[in-house]
């Protein structure tokens, strides 16, 4: 099982997210994350889908999605050639001063940001590749993660290559 990232520009219309996620669901593709947001062109939204599988899965994901009328552009973003980022907001318990210091040290080491502060908790914002997010979460587990939310991966090609060139 390998991890794949596929980028798509899709029509910015109601129901498109349902259509794409439904397509993946009914074909049995194993989606890890799916992100969607508007682009500089109001007619288009950009989706980034990460999933695990093999080359067969990747080909089917792309070929089935291409058939979808709402998909304007689609391209695999090979892991080694793209830049990918994810953001996490993580609320961790800091019951005493020692714990708080440990957490603050970790924030510094990971170049994360503390974005909220209360007497018994800290909220951390961290951006990075998914693997970095994973290891930060692992690190925070012993302190007691109260809640967290991850955005899922966004990705694009390095250099001047764009999804629209696909």
């Amino acid at each position: 099982m390998k991890k794949y990232i596929v980028g798509m520009l899709v029509a910015n219309e109601a129901g498109v997210l349902t259509r794409i996620s439904g397509l993946f669901g009914r074909r049995g593709f194993n989606i890890e994350s799916l992100t969607v947001g508007e682009t500089e062109d109001p007619a288009l939204s950009r989706m980034t889908v990460t999933f695990t599988g093999d080359d067969y899965t990747r080909d089917q994901v792309i070929r089935q999605a291409v058939k979808c009328v709402d998909v304007e552009y689609i391209k695999e973003l090979p892991l080694e050639k793209c830049i990918s980022r994810e953001l996490v907001m993580l609320k961790v318990a800091t019951d005493d001063a020692d714990m708080r210091k440990d957490v603050m040290d970790a924030i510094a080491a990971f170049k994360a940001k503390q974005i909220d502060y209360s007497s018994r908790s800290v909220v951390v914002e961290l951006t990075g590749e998914s693997a970095k997010i994973d290891s930060f979460i692992e690190l925070m587990k012993p302190y007691g993660i109260l809640e967290l939310c991850r955005t899922g991966t966004v990705a694009m090609d390095r250099g001047t290559t764009c999804l629209k060139d696909a």
Partner: protein
């Protein structure tokens, strides 16, 4: 000019060349039906007994004519009654446009009377679907829907039109139909690679799917098979692409395919798979499928390539153009040894043909019907044993004359489909059905009568759900769970109650007399043909089996 949404709908349907629509009125399509009333001299509406019958009719109309079929239904139950028919069209790549009304936009999302999210429901079973958001965009949505339905690999498209959009007015500017998407063009290197593989083959085999009918490529397929001295096998959807009487045509392959057609495919060293999707019913166990053969797969749908069977060469292109280009690259060759081997498979098939049991056998019934049909008459089927017998035995001379539910296997498809095919062609149409399938949508006899359609309904009545019973006989220790119907339906009286003619048929003489009457009648006629409940469809490759598991007839 300024028109209401309903008027714009009618005008854009006419733009597309639509002269016939199937449907059923209701609350949220009253405005559309009002315009249909006013435009009845320009557009013919056929009312069914149930929306499912209407959508199957639109599907049968599309298959028999090659045009886009159109069906209209109201919101809520009207729309959900289309679902099976839309899925059926999706699985068999049939171009239809389904139009549903919906509650006005101010009522959407409030669980209003007869409101369902038909766009959401039909997303997985349409090529695309729309909910129209303004009267201004309606004309373009309809134009796009037709383009999508017929482009590339055809399929169903749904347009949901809220009631307020049908009533509101907008500027309408007439336009011509949008051109279909251009088919992908095969790379020269792939054409050369195909020609090389063909030149190296000693035992080539041409395998045709429904794509050949959509591409109208029957002639090119025969030219290819002639040039490389190959037999031709068909998926069920490919039947009628090439005349079944053609000496190279071996018939259908797969679970209930002809022995020779399936055997030759497994024994070949090169399969040219054209316009096909390698359904599990055709391939059986994929790991054992034609392991000695290289496969060249040509299909207009890129997603079908390497989906079910991985191929040595896959070409995403229009099959007609691609085969023509391959033909220019190859020198005619003969493979006398292979031809002889194929002939021996045919001989084996002939010697071991399962002919059935009982006073009147399915093949006798089909053969007798074939004596009355002309090559241009559509033959529709329902789903079950009778369907397989028809697929095996019917002589199909012209493309689009076999109208049958393949991928979805929809019992109850037949009556609607036969009505649609009959309306599309204006020809007498034969329906092979069974008492199980017919029971599902027999209400469409009412439609056939009111339209006075010359339908010959060949009911193969065995009193059981024969196909399921066959599996229970072979694989479930003869435990006939819920397949012995034990109904007391008098189908002859039923046909008469609908206003059709009906004949009871228990032997060959009655069959001959009833067929003479049926093929002379103006309107629909039902022949209630009694067959044995233990009749089997042979050959049979058990599910997920291969050629080595084939049951040729009951003796082996």
């Amino acid at each position: 000019m300024i028109l209401s949404g309903s008027q714009i709908l009618i005008e854009t349907l006419l733009e597309q060349g639509t002269d016939t629509v199937f449907g059923y009125p209701g609350g949220t399509v009253l405005n559309i039906y009002d315009e249909l009333y006013k435009s009845s001299d320009r557009i013919n509406h056929i009312i069914s007994a149930h929306e499912q019958g209407a959508v199957h009719a639109a599907d049968g109309y599309a298959r028999a004519s090659g045009k886009v079929g159109v069906v209209i239904a109201t919101s809520g139950p009207g729309a959900t009654n289309l679902v099976t028919g839309i899925a059926n069209a999706y699985l068999d790549s049939t171009p239809i446009v389904a139009i549903t009304g919906n509650v006005g936009r101010s009522l959407i999302g409030r669980d209003s009377f007869q409101e369902v999210d038909i766009k959401g429901i039909t997303m997985p079973i349409t090529k695309h679907n729309f909910q129209v958001q303004s009267t201004e965009e309606l004309a373009d949505v309809v134009r796009k829907a037709f383009k999508i339905a017929r482009s590339g690999r055809p399929g169903p498209v749904l347009i949901d039109i809220p009631k307020d959009i049908q009533i509101a007015t907008a500027e309408y500017t007439p336009a011509s139909p949008l051109p279909s998407d251009k088919a992908p063009y095969a790379y020269e290197t792939d054409i050369a690679a195909a020609a090389k593989m063909i030149a190296e083959a000693k035992k080539p085999y041409v395998y045709c799917g429904g794509g050949i009918i959509n591409a109208a490529a029957g002639k090119e397929i025969v030219a290819l098979a002639d040039a490389i001295d190959a037999p031709i096998g068909f998926s069920m959807m490919g039947l009628s692409a090439v005349a079944s009487t053609h000496p190279r045509a071996l018939g259908m392959v797969g679970m209930h395919g002809h022995y020779a057609a399936t055997k030759a495919m497994y024994e070949s060293d090169l399969i040219l798979a054209l316009g096909i999707r390698f359904s599990d019913r055709a391939t059986g166990d994929k790991s054992k499928f034609a392991t000695g053969a290289k496969i060249i797969h040509i299909d207009i749908d890129n997603a079908e390539l390497n989906k079910n069977i991985s191929c040595h060469l896959s070409i995403n292109a229009d099959v007609k153009e691609t085969v023509s280009r391959i033909l220019e690259r190859i020198a005619p060759t003969a493979h006398p040894e292979w031809a002889q081997q194929v002939a021996s498979f045919c001989k084996y098939e002939e010697d071991n043909l399962y002919l059935g049991k009982g006073e009147l056998t399915p093949y006798q019934i089909i053969d007798a019907v074939m004596e009355h049909t002309t090559p241009d008459m559509p033959i529709a089927t329902d789903v079950g044993q009778h369907q397989m017998w028809a697929a095996q035995r019917c002589k199909l001379e012209a493309p689009r004359t076999f109208v049958s539910s393949g991928g979805l296997g929809t019992m109850g498809y037949g009556m609607g489909a036969a009505i649609g095919a009959c309306v599309a062609t204006g020809k007498r149409t034969v329906l092979f059905t069974g008492d199980g399938s017919f029971g599902m949508n027999l209400n469409e006899m009412a439609t056939a009568v009111s339209q006075n359609l010359p339908l010959v309904v060949m009911l193969m009545n065995n009193g059981v759900l024969g196909m399921v019973r066959q599996w229970q006989t072979l694989f479930f220790g003869q435990r006939y769970s819920q397949t012995t119907l034990d109904r007391k339906t008098d189908f002859v009286a039923l046909a008469k109650a609908f206003g059709a003619e009906g004949y009871s048929v228990t032997n060959k003489d009655e069959l001959a007399a009833a067929l003479d009457a049926a093929f002379a009648a103006d309107g629909p006629v039902l022949l209630d043909c009694r067959i044995d409940q233990d009749e089997m469809v042979m050959p049979m490759i058990p599910p997920n089996g291969s050629i080595t598991d084939i049951l040729v007839n009951l003796k082996n």
